[in-house]
Amino acid sequence: MTNPTDAPTLAASAADGGSAWGAIVAFVQDWPNMWPSLWLGTQDTVYMVVWATLISVLVGLPLGVLLVSTDRGGLTPAPAVRAVLSAVVNIGRSLPFIVLMVAVLSLTRFLVGTTLGPTAAIVPLSIGAIPFFARLVETSLREVDRGVVEAAHAMGTRRFTIVGKVLLPEALPGLIAGLVMTVVALISYSAMAGAIGGGGLGDLAIREGYQRFNDHYLWATVILLIVIVQIAQSIGDLLVRRLSRR
C-alpha cells in the first residue's frame, strides 16, 4: 500500500484481466460469511445420507438376497415370490426421485410428523435407495461361482449358513462397491430433497443460490458436494481393494 506503483497495477488487472479472477477473489472473501450455514448444510446432508444408507442396507440387503435365492436354481426357488418382489423393486426403480418424494409425502408425515427438514427427508431417501441397493446386491450375489455354492451343499451346509458364510463373504467386494454407488446416489437425491425443504446442501443451493441469485452459495455447495462424493468413493475403493482376494 505504501508503494504508489502497486495499486494501479492491481486495479488494472482486476478490471481488464477479465472479471473471472475478481469473481474468484470475491468468492473466497465471501467464504467465511457463508461458512456457518454451509457447515450446517453439510451436517444435514451427511445426517440424511448416513441414516438413509443404514436403512437401505438393512432392508435392501435381505431383499437382494431374497431376489437371488427365490430365483430358479437358487437356494429356495419360489418363482411367484420372486415375481412379486421383482415387480415391487421395479416400481421403486422406475419413479424419478423427485416424483417419489412428493408421492410419499403422506407416509413421511405419518412416520415423522412433518414433511420438512432432514429427518423427514430420510423417509423418501430410504424408499428411493432400497430398491436401487437391492438390485446391486442381486447383481453381486449372482456373480458368486455356482460351483462354490454346490460345494457347500455337498459339505452338508444349511441354506441359511450358505448365505452367511458363502454368498455374502464371496460377494463382499461387489457389495461394498454397490454400497458406495448407493451412497453417491443418496447424496444426489439428498440435494434434490432440498427442493421441497428437506434441508442440507441442496436446500441451501436452491434457497440461497437459485431463489436469491447468490452465485457464491451455488458454487460453495457444488464444491462441498463434490468433496463429499470424492471422500465416499475413495473410502469405498480402498475397502474394495483391501477386501478383494481374487
Binding site: D145, G147, V148, E150, A151, A152, H153, A154, M155, G156, T157, R158, T161, K165, V166, P169, E170, L172, L243, R245, R246
Partner: protein, 322 residues
C-alpha cells in the same frame, strides 16, 4: 460301499426332454477306485451328483456305507453328506478365505470348535503337502495346489467316500500325475473309497481298479479294469489301445491281459509256419499290471491252429473279420 440301483433322471430343457440317467446300476466296493468315463453329456456328472443327492434321481435308490440316502431329507441328508467328500473340477474354493479357512469350512459348519478345527486343518494340509500354505489365499496358488486344498477340504470330516468330479481336467499333465498319485496314496493310507468321473482314458488307466464306460445315460460296460480288458469286444480295451483300423480280413487283435515271458510271435512262426506282420500295438501299465494289445496280419495254412494256441495260453484273440 456305494450301491446305486436303477437310477433314472430326466431334465426338461425348453420343449424337449433330456435323459441324463437311463437305468444305471453302480456298485463300488470298499477301498476301490471306480472310474466312470464318457463324453460330455453322457450323464457322468448327473450320476456323480446322484450319489450325494445334489441331484435327486427320478427313480432308483442310492445307498452309501449301508445308509439309504434317497429316503433322507433335511438335517439327516446333510449329516449323511458329511460322510461323502467331493472334489470339483474347478476347485470351488472360497476366494474370500485362506487355505486354512477353506479346509476348515466343513468342520465349521458341522460345529467343530476352533481349537480342534485348527489341529485338524494342520493335519490335513500336511497330508496333501501344503503345510506351509495355510495363510495363503486361493488366488495365490497354482491349479495343482488349489486342487490339493480341495482334496484336503473334502477329507476334513473324515469321510469314507470321496467323489471326484473331473478333478484333474483343468490341470496340466504333470500336475494331473501328482494329483492322481495323491488320490491313490490317500486310498491306500485312509482306506477311502473313490468314485471318479473323467473324460480322460488316462485317468482310468492310471488309478482305477474298476471302471464303467458311459454313453447316453447308460453303462455300456462296467467291471474290474483288468477283467474288462480281457473281455472280447471290450470298448475299454479298444479305447486304451487305439490301434489302426486299416487291417484286412487277415488282421487279428491280440490282447495280453498280463505280462508274459514266452516269445509267442516267434513260437507261432516256428510251430505253425504262419507269417506274422505287426501292424500296431502298445503296452500300458493298467491297474498296476503290464497289459498289451497287438494288431497283426497273420497268413498261412495253419492260421486257425496258431490262433487256438494263443488262446490256450491266456491271450485274447479277436479276428477282424468276425
Amino acid at each position: 460301499m456305494i450301491d446305486a440301483v436303477g437310477l433314472h433322471k430326466a431334465y426338461r430343457l425348453k420343449k424337449h426332454q433330456v435323459t441324463a440317467l437311463d437305468g444305471v446300476d453302480l456298485h463300488v466296493e470298499p477301498g476301490e477306485i471306480f472310474g466312470v468315463v464318457g463324453q460330455s453329456g453322457a450323464g457322468k456328472s448327473t450320476l456323480l451328483r446322484s450319489v450325494n443327492l445334489l441331484e435327486r434321481p427320478d427313480a432308483g435308490t442310492v445307498e452309501v456305507a449301508g445308509e439309504e440316502l434317497t429316503s433322507l431329507r433335511g438335517a439327516r441328508l446333510r449329516a449323511a453328506r458329511r460322510n461323502i467328500g467331493m472334489v470339483h473340477q474347478h476347485f470351488a474354493l472360497l476366494s474370500s478365505r485362506t487355505v486354512a479357512g477353506n479346509v476348515g469350512f466343513p468342520l465349521e459348519v458341522s460345529g467343530v470348535d476352533r481349537t480342534r478345527r485348527r489341529a485338524r486343518v494342520g493335519e490335513l494340509l500336511e497330508l496333501v503337502g501344503l503345510g506351509d500354505k495355510a495363510r495363503a489365499y486361493p488366488a495365490q496358488l497354482s491349479g495343482g495346489q488349489k486342487q490339493r486344498v480341495g482334496i484336503a477340504r473334502a477329507l476334513a470330516s473324515a469321510p469314507q467316500v470321496l467323489l471326484s468330479d473331473e478333478a484333474t481336467s483343468a490341470l496340466d499333465p504333470a500336475t494331473t500325475d501328482s494329483i492322481l498319485a495323491l488320490l491313490r496314496r490317500l486310498r491306500d493310507e485312509l482306506g477311502l473309497t473313490i468314485l471318479l468321473i473323467t473324460h480322460e482314458m488316462d485317468v482310468i488307466k492310471r488309478i482305477c481298479d474298476s471302471a464303467a464306460i458311459m454313453e447316453k445315460g447308460v453303462f455300456l460296460e462296467s467291471g474290474r479294469v483288468l477283467d474288462l480288458i480281457g473281455t472280447p469286444g471290450s470298448l475299454l480295451a479298444r479305447s486304451l489301445f487305439p490301434l489302426p483300423a486299416n487291417g484286412g480280413p487277415e488282421t487279428v487283435f491280440i490282447t495280453y491281459p498280463r505280462s508274459f515271458d514266452e516269445p509267442f510271435m516267434s513260437e507261432l512262426t516256428r510251430r505253425f509256419d504262419v507269417d506274422v506282420n505287426i501292424l500296431g500295438g502298445g503296452v500300458e501299465q493298467v491297474a498296476g499290471q503290464s497289459v498289451g494289445r497287438l494288431s497283426v496280419d497273420m497268413r498261412g495254412a495253419r492260421r486257425a491252429e496258431a490262433l487256438a494256441y494263443l488262446s490256450e495260453h491266456g491271450l485274447l484273440v479277436e479276428e477282424a473279420g468276425k
